[in-house]
C-alpha cells in the first residue's frame, strides 16, 4: 500500500514538470498569481521541449551555404 502511494508520487512527478530552477516570476509574480504563472510557463516549456522540425535545419543549412557561396 505504502509502496503504491510512493509509486504514484513518482509517476506524477515524472509527468508534471518541477518548478523551473530560476522562475522568471520576479516582477510579474506581483501581477500574476503563482498558479497561473506556473501554468503559462508549463504551456510554453512544453513546446520548447518538442524537437525542432527538420525543415528548420534545412532552412538554416541553406542560409549557411548561401553565405559560404557568397
Amino acid at each position: 500500500m505504502g509502496r503504491s502511494v510512493v509509486h504514484a508520487v513518482m509517476i506524477m512527478s515524472d509527468k508534471i514538470k518541477p518548478e523551473p530552477v530560476n522562475p522568471p516570476a520576479g516582477e510579474v509574480g506581483v501581477q500574476v498569481p503563482e498558479w497561473l504563472g506556473n501554468r503559462l510557463r508549463r504551456l510554453f516549456d512544453d513546446v520548447m521541449d518538442e524537437p525542432v522540425p527538420d525543415e528548420f535545419q534545412s532552412l538554416l543549412k541553406q542560409l549557411e551555404e548561401k553565405e559560404r557561396g557568397a
Binding site: 505504502g2 522568471p24 501581477q31 500574476v32 503563482e34 498558479w35 510554453f44 520548447m48 518538442e50 528548420f56
Partner: protein, 180 residues
Amino acid sequence: MTGADLFLDQITALLPALRAFGRSLCGDPARADDLAQDTVLKAWANREQFQAGSNLKAWLFTILRNCYYSELRHRKFEVEDPDGVNAARLAIAPDHDAKLQLRDLNRALQQLPPDQREALVLVAATGLSYEEAADVCQVAVGTIKSRIARARDRLVELLGADAALVGEPSLPESSIDLPG
C-alpha cells in the same frame, strides 16, 4: 567560425522559444512554424541591423510578432478559428489533469485579444522583463502592465475561480515519507 555562423548558431538555439512564442500568439502549431520560419528568413536578411550584445531573443520575438500582425491584417476578413478547432488540436489525447489544465489554459489564451495575450506570454512565460516586452510590442511599460492585468483577470474569469484550487498538484507530506 565566422560572425554569420555564430549568428545562425544563436538563432538555432532560440528556435524552440520562437516556435513556442509563435504558437502562443496564433494557437496553431503549423501556422506558428510558418511564422518562425519567416522570422528566421527576415532575421537573416536584416542581420546587419541587429546590434551585437543586445537581446537576440527579444529581437527575434519582435520580428515574429510583426510577421504575425501583418498576416493578421491580410486575413482580417477571415474569422480566426471560430470554433476553437486549432486551440483544441493543440492538446492531443489529454491523459491527465495537468494536460487538461494546459488545454484549458490554451483555449482561454486564444480568447484574449492579441495585445493582452502577447503581453502576458512575453512576461509571464518567456521570461522577458517588462521593459523588454515593452520594446517588443513598441508600447510603454505601463501599457504592458495594464494589458497583463486585463489578461490575468479574463483568464481567472475563463478558467473559473476554482482554477487556483485545483491548480498545482499537491500531496500531503505524509504520503511522500512513506517507507519504500
